[in-house]
Subunit: 300 residues, 2 copies
């Protein structure tokens, strides 16, 4: 089978993102136990989707992907990793398994998992502020990332998610939760790509809009897989949402309704890509990210 | 009794720091429950020691304390508050009472306490990055604050503290833990004052050194009060360290040894103040911070 551009891109940049993360963590002057706990979850085999999106946008705008850009992108993965560690905690989602491996608190204990999360979150801002980029760009990225990750973004979504355990949400409420929980960081990934790749204002608007929808689609896709996926393929428990009476898209829209909603989002993303084409943006790579939402490959 | 300069200074600036924190939190676009949990701990009546130190240093260097400087100082209080919320969690120090009031997780539940802490930590960097100061100063402060608060500072100290529950430390090990746990943020408070107050390089070195020792003294003083203080005066349980077999200065040095160690640190801080006098720095306010370590007032 012929490899597409994104596969080639991933093959080139995932190892570089991983090396960069390893370098950041090994340079850390901290207790071995803390470093181990941080490293464990950073190494737990994520898809590196968020940093890849940032880098793909930089490349699409004909900019060279420098070491500093990879570092900037890797900072986002630190934040993403912290959020997974805290989400998995017993007092939160209480997950024992993540990507087929025991979760952080299962290996290092609950106190260390809280601290490893705190450490990764803070470390992301440390490394971002130390980048060899202009202060102007660094401040832009720090403002955007903290807004995306904090009480006006991801943390707020997580609060909504937890409150939803006691309350039935309608579609608008659920969308609002996921705009924070999943959408904000993916939106930021696209924003960071736009800033580092020197996108025009118009390009940036479309890229951020694309990221926003991608984040929502990502969550809907995840919810759908929880209904129709297999534990073996996903490396985590399925049918968990139903057991826990979680607010999900299939729960509100039905399975078919959720699949249709996902397809509508994909169409809207393609519209943004069409706008980007008009703005002389090379959408080839970015459009291949939409292959992620291929339900067939996960269930067959 | 005649009021000293620091009392007058506190009377003027504590309300301004509190107003600034309230303004930051009320402007927040987030779930009410999250805002309530954040506000609860921010309002829990701290001494605002850290932001006051920053502001005192700015004033001592003959700079006007602007609204932006108060905002910058308040960001440090956000970080300090997050650290208290996470420290009090059942999996950490498991404290039910803080400053005489129920701890965050006792009021809002454990999940919300984790999230309120995460939110305050991230929000501090958001507000710092949004200050109306030069990008150069903002990046300096963000680098220093993230280094002080993260895996090379406070979080690392907290890890050491937790590991110490299973291990007896010697004095050097204990000092290293507290340089992170308590020292790093107070050191940063002095650094921020030096940066915002445009201290010379020599002044900055002495101020940071002063902050480092103040942080250690702060912890020793706290350990001593746990042995000889009264629950009523302190608003928290005493003799907790002994019950939990914690590594403390009185535990390693004996009570008299710990008091002597505290006095030696106070002498060293006075030496730094003497250097600052030679550097044309007005030490009046800063030297009054040393009155904090008056054991008499807490036990009589």
């Amino acid at each position: 089978m012929k490899k597409n551009n994104l596969d080639i891109f991933m093959q080139e940049y995932i190892p570089q993102i991983n090396d960069c993360l390893d370098e950041m963590l090994s340079s850390l002057n901290a207790e071995t136990k803390l470093k181990d706990a941080m490293q464990y979850s950073v190494d737990a085999g994520g898809k590196r989707l968020r940093p890849l999106m940032t880098l793909a946008i930089i490349k699409a705008n004909n900019h060279k992907i420098t070491k500093e850009f990879i570092r900037a992108a890797a900072c986002l993965e630190l934040i993403h990793t912290y959020s997974l560690i805290h989400d998995d905690l017993p007092e939160m989602d209480n997950d024992d398994l993540r990507r087929g491996k025991p979760t952080n608190h299962k290996v290092f204990g609950q106190a260390m998992a809280v601290l490893a999360g705190d450490a990764l979150l803070t470390f992301a801002f440390q490394k971002l502020s130390e980048l060899n980029l202009s202060n102007n760009i660094k401040v832009k990225l720090i403002t955007a990332l903290s807004t995306a990750a904090g009480p006006e973004g991801m943390v707020n979504g997580q609060v909504g998610d937890i409150q939803g355990e006691k309350e039935k949400y309608n579609l608008d409420q659920l969308v609002k939760v996921h705009q924070g929980k999943t959408g904000a960081l993916i939106r930021y990934a696209c924003y960071a790509g736009a800033v580092l790749g020197e996108a025009t204002e118009k390009q940036q608007t479309s890229l951020v809009e694309f990221g926003e929808m991608f984040g929502l689609a990502f969550q809907i896709y995840d919810d759908i897989l929880d209904v129709i996926g297999s534990e073996e393929k996903l490396g985590k428990k399925v049918h968990k949402d139903a057991v826990e009476m979680k607010n999900t898209y299939p729960g509100i829209l039905g399975l078919d309704g959720a699949i249709q909603h996902l397809q509508r989002l994909i169409s809207s993303m393609k519209e943004q890509l069409a706008i980007l084409v008009d703005e002389h943006f090379n959408i080839e790579l970015l459009s291949e990210f939409l292959n992620y939402f291929d339900l067939e490959k996960e269930i067959k």
